[in-house]
């Protein structure tokens, strides 16, 4: 089967289902490969997983439906990480600490752009952007 679809998602657990082997099912039942970009899963507490999922589009959609049915909140990472373009002064100092190249400068008009598909949600930019132009909601 062709693995042609890839997307970064934020999965939020409630305290009741934090002990379920969610990622196991993603692999076993939906044949998805995953890369854990960020995880905060504690017993009897709310949890958060940022996964880079890839597989077929059909299986990906099925998996998302399964996750939602299981009581998890699933969102694309792009909803949680945003560049406030009103605030950004396009200095480019974020290029020094963004580890994935998600923040980059458009060589033509010299604006700083944000490619959420490259972001791994590390949150470095939230504190290191001198004008606080990056907003991340991964709590």
């Amino acid at each position: 089967m062709e693995n042609n679809y890839s997307k970064k998602v934020v999965i939020r657990y409630s305290a009741e289902i934090v002990d379920q082997p969610i990622t196991y099912h993603l692999v076993k039942d939906f044949d998805l490969s995953f890369n854990i970009m960020r995880a905060r899963v504690l017993p009897k507490r709310e949890g958060l997983l940022v996964l880079d999922l890839s597989g077929t589009k059909e299986n990906f959609d099925k998996a998302i439906r399964y996750l939602k049915k299981s009581g998890l909140k699933v969102e694309p990472l792009s909803k949680s990480v945003t560049q406030n373009t009103d605030r950004c002064v396009h200095c480019g100092s974020c290029l020094a600490f963004c580890p994935t190249g998600a923040l980059y400068i458009d060589k033509k008009d010299m604006q700083v752009l944000f490619d959420v598909e490259k972001c791994n949600g590390c949150e470095m930019c939230v504190k290191a952007c001198p004008v606080r132009a990056m907003e991340i909601d991964l709590i």
Binding site: V89, C94, A96, F97, A128, P130
Partner: protein, 391 residues
């Protein structure tokens, strides 16, 4: 002294500006003109070249006079949004400095500190029209009996507000790397260990003082774009120097000249004065400055055609050398390479990141161009040359 083939005066150019007939181009646009037509033809065609820079510039701040209170107070301590301003000037005058951190900030006690608010942010809040909590303390005198005073004030409530930056618009600055084994947090941004990245400041070919390397036109009295309004160069900036290594056309290859600039804060805008929080370092203020360069002759046309590939700076280690107070150059790199996103040091490829906004610098040069084209901005003739070491 060399005779020029083209000779123009400030008066002639200003007459053209008033009639909206002046030919104005930016420091980027002049490059092609000089390359295609030569310096002499360019000097005949173009009257003014506009430059721009937008960068965190420490050594910035504002003199504020908040007017007399009733009963009167001789303020000996002043806070604006809990950021201390220097009050030892007069009864109701103070100076709010860009790098003053808000009282109670944890600083670097948990390293690296975030430094979310400070003097630069107070200035941004003021120009944005936001109310700022002003708190005054005194010991009370017969003529100024009040000992405490507190009020929300906006910029318009203040009697006078003068942005006065003792050192801005650095003519060149270091390229920073980190040779140590740990990540460091500096005013040159986040520097990863073992030379994993490099940072640099200045807008290169757009930067005011690269376009006038010998201060032939920029001097005391030069009218400038400052924070979105019209301001002036009033003095050489602090740390101004001119005995430096120079390259093509005398362009400094290390940090050299600086400018002290002044302007009315009430006319300025938060687009061009933005508070900065430098992780692990402190607070500062992004300042937007644009300087028009009158093309008085072909020699000046030649200077304004400077390109990133002809501008070099020194690579300095901020891990050990710089903090120890004994910085030494680890090599030289051009702004063309720095802006390409990657430089090579000892054969190793190192990604680069700017501290200055080239995008905003370009905007400033374009706004200044528009002001001059519309006849709204006249050139201010230098009344006194800034020391530059040139004849």
């Amino acid at each position: 002294m060399k005779k020029h083939r083209v000779e123009k005066t400030y008066k002639e150019i200003n007459e053209k500006i008033k009639k909206r007939k002046a030919v104005v181009v930016t420091a980027e646009e002049i490059i092609d003109i000089v390359e295609k037509k030569g310096k002499v033809a360019a000097a005949r065609q173009v009257d003014v070249v506009t430059t721009g820079t937008f960068s965190p510039m420490c050594s910035s701040g504002a003199f504020l006079n908040f007017g007399h209170t009733s009963p009167r107070i001789r303020a000996s301590k002043v806070w604006l949004n809990d950021v201390a301003a220097y009050a030892g000037i007069a009864a109701v005058d103070c100076y709010i400095g860009a790098t003053q951190v808000v009282d109670g900030d944890p600083l670097n006690s948990v390293h690296p500190g975030e430094f979310n608010y400070g003097g630069g942010h107070v200035i941004e809040d003021l120009v944005a029209g936001n109310a700022v909590r002003m708190r005054l303390e005194s010991y009370g005198t017969d003529c100024y009996p009040a000992r405490k005073y507190e009020k929300n004030v906006t910029l318009q409530d203040l009697r006078d507000s003068i942005l006065f930056n003792p050192r801005n618009a650095y003519q060149n600055y270091n390229c920073a790397i980190n040779l140590s084994d740990r990540i460091i947090y500096t005013y040159m941004g986040v520097l990863r260990p073992r030379m994993a990245n490099a940072t640099y400041a200045t807008s290169g070919q757009l930067s005011p003082l690269f376009n006038d390397p010998w201060f032939k036109t920029i001097g005391i009295g030069t009218r400038v774009f400052l924070g979105g309004a019209q301001g002036y160069v009033v003095w050489p900036g602090t740390q101004h120097t001119f005995n430096v290594m120079r390259g093509k056309d005398g362009i400094p290859r290390e940090s050299a000249g600086t400018l002290a600039v002044i302007g009315d804060l009430k006319e300025m805008s938060p687009d061009w004065l933005v508070g900065a929080s430098m992780l692990g370092y402190g607070v500062s203020l992004y300042v937007g400055i644009g300087i028009p360069i009158p093309v008085l002759n072909e020699e000046i046309a030649g200077y304004t055609a400077v390109k990133d590939e002809d501008i070099y700076t020194q690579i300095i280690d901020y891990g050990v050398d710089y903090p120890s107070g004994a910085p030494k150059s680890l090599g030289e790199v051009s702004y063309k390479d720095l802006r390409s996103g990657e430089i090579k040091i000892n054969g190793e490829k190192i990604p680069t990141a700017p501290m200055s906004s080239y995008y905003k610098a370009r905007n400033i040069a374009n706004i200044l161009k528009e002001w001059i084209e519309k006849g709204e901005f006249l050139l201010g003739e230098s009344q006194q040359q800034i020391p530059s070491g040139s004849s």
